[in-house]
Point group: C2
Amino acid sequence: MFNPKFIFTAMLAASMSTAATAETVETERHTVSITTLADGFTHPWGMAFLPNGNMLVTERSGNLYWLSEDGSKRKKISDVPEVVAQGQGGLLDVVVDPNYSENGWVYISYSEAAAEGKGNSTAVMRAKISDNSFTDKEVIFRQAPKYESTAHFGSRLAFSPEGHLYITLGDRYSRMEDAQTLDNHHGKIVRIWPDGSIPKDNPFVGNDQALDEIWSYGHRNVQGADIHPDTGELWSVEHGPQGGDEVNIPKAGKNYGWPEVTYGVDYGGAIISDVAVKEGTEQPFYYWVPSIATAGATFYTGDAFPEWKGDFFVAALKSSLVARLDLYEGRMMHEERLFEDAIDARIRDINQGPDGYLYLLTDQPNGAVIQIKPTD
Amino acid sequence: MFNPKFIFTAMLAASMSTAATAETVETERHTVSITTLADGFTHPWGMAFLPNGNMLVTERSGNLYWLSEDGSKRKKISDVPEVVAQGQGGLLDVVVDPNYSENGWVYISYSEAAAEGKGNSTAVMRAKISDNSFTDKEVIFRQAPKYESTAHFGSRLAFSPEGHLYITLGDRYSRMEDAQTLDNHHGKIVRIWPDGSIPKDNPFVGNDQALDEIWSYGHRNVQGADIHPDTGELWSVEHGPQGGDEVNIPKAGKNYGWPEVTYGVDYGGAIISDVAVKEGTEQPFYYWVPSIATAGATFYTGDAFPEWKGDFFVAALKSSLVARLDLYEGRMMHEERLFEDAIDARIRDINQGPDGYLYLLTDQPNGAVIQIKPTD
């Protein structure tokens, strides 16, 4: 997998320039330019903004890059952990601490091999970046149990306003039934403190039958998450089966139904459950049939796109689109599908930059960071 | 316009049989059959079920028909009022009184010419049907002012649980600004008692500057209406301009924004308003961009389609579809577009029959009553 084109040092990077060709696209409420800020990433998966506008970008194969604000310079961060880069696994999400300027913590989620024997699961590490290297590494969460599968690792990381870290996980595909039992982390969203300790008011603390980290359960494969800017609540986005991708607003201790309750069918058309509504399980906020293959998600809170303020944006792998959910007072009024014609790539993540622009990550062999700016 | 093919008497009708060929369509939650119950209607516009399952069907050209439950027999009702059958005008909606079995009242909306001079507007008449003839005719509402236009008459009729009659109207197109002033009925939804008298608690009663019939304003062309089965509230559906068809839940005295606030642009792309949200105006419950050309609408409350119970169905002229809005606890979770491939016709109205099946009306030169039944 060694490709010298993608090895950069600070010095080399200074001489690197990305051919940025902008395309203009009219959307319902804004006319925008689409600019490839940086490409040459191999299946990039997650991205995060540092306070100064520079970025961190993961490649699923296990690489972490620092990328300058304008995309022209990049540096590979060394000493990131070994990852199981198979199937859907690898180095996945990255976020920076809300107090990054003070503490320098960076958090990554990744597929981690079992220490002994077979199996793997999603882990979360925090570390600092010093001299382009990962230091002070602490594994703060390990999805249990380890299981031999290359599918459904989740995952996204999101900080609550109170400083909790939400970790969204997958059901490991062939262990989907585990999503309904509480003695494991399959098909769960967990909530921990950034040092890995468990919030005392987590919903299952004190329940001997349940793992203390669990925030909500009955999820399938959650690859999108953000915090609502007004309510502070977690919003999550999960891949459903064929049909049935969902937006949820996961509440403490609640059951989101998978695999007992779903709007989808299994790939190939087999019925998983013909039940879409069931007592004791929560209905989604919104769902897609057919699936668009939902990945990263973000609320838009900036000033660059005033007509998009408060809307929820969901990146999708299938159809190369971003779904804009036009929200008003907590209600879903309209879905606009953006960039279907303009971008021909699986869109794995979407983030808002400190500049108020939107940034997309295309999960391709030659993946890119794409900047969306208003031109109107 | 005389076409002997469409003239029926009770005797002739008995020998008439409609070739009913059913097509089976899989939808997300139900597999259904689509059967043409009766055709040969010229641009049918509205339909209503009598308590015994027989139907009344309007033709925009000015004819009203009684149709037997199985579609095999029809009779033309004589002595219906003269209508202005031009452009979008003509004989429009029909409903029967909630106490029809006791009082026999039938209500029609239609485009009525000015008594003197030019101009027309939507009027509502109630009458009884005796010996296939309209009798005891009373005009209970006249949209004011009369205006010379062939466009945007509305209209649908819907009874509240308390027995009010809601009449949904249009802005008469070139009089769109009237939708924002209260001294006229253009772009309004009005609420009256079935005898034409005005409910004392109508929102503008006692306001000298406003017409007492007005319930809500700022509407464009409202051709869909039904009462929410749980809340008893009116839900209305209006044609937006190019982009911006809306579902609203019109509240007493509220302003729904047209033409100051819209998600659409005028046909040809001209900006009507680039304001979508404005203080003092209400946001829609849901909206379509691009437009689907929304017409009739109904809540589904029957038992024949358990998975559709509580959902809101909207007929659309463009794309020949029915939009199913999957509602849960008052929230909009998902839109499914039904019959796009199976039906090639403008769908003007949708109703639930006493049998719990859904019935569509296709607004075509050879228009039909179509029955939707479950096969699963």
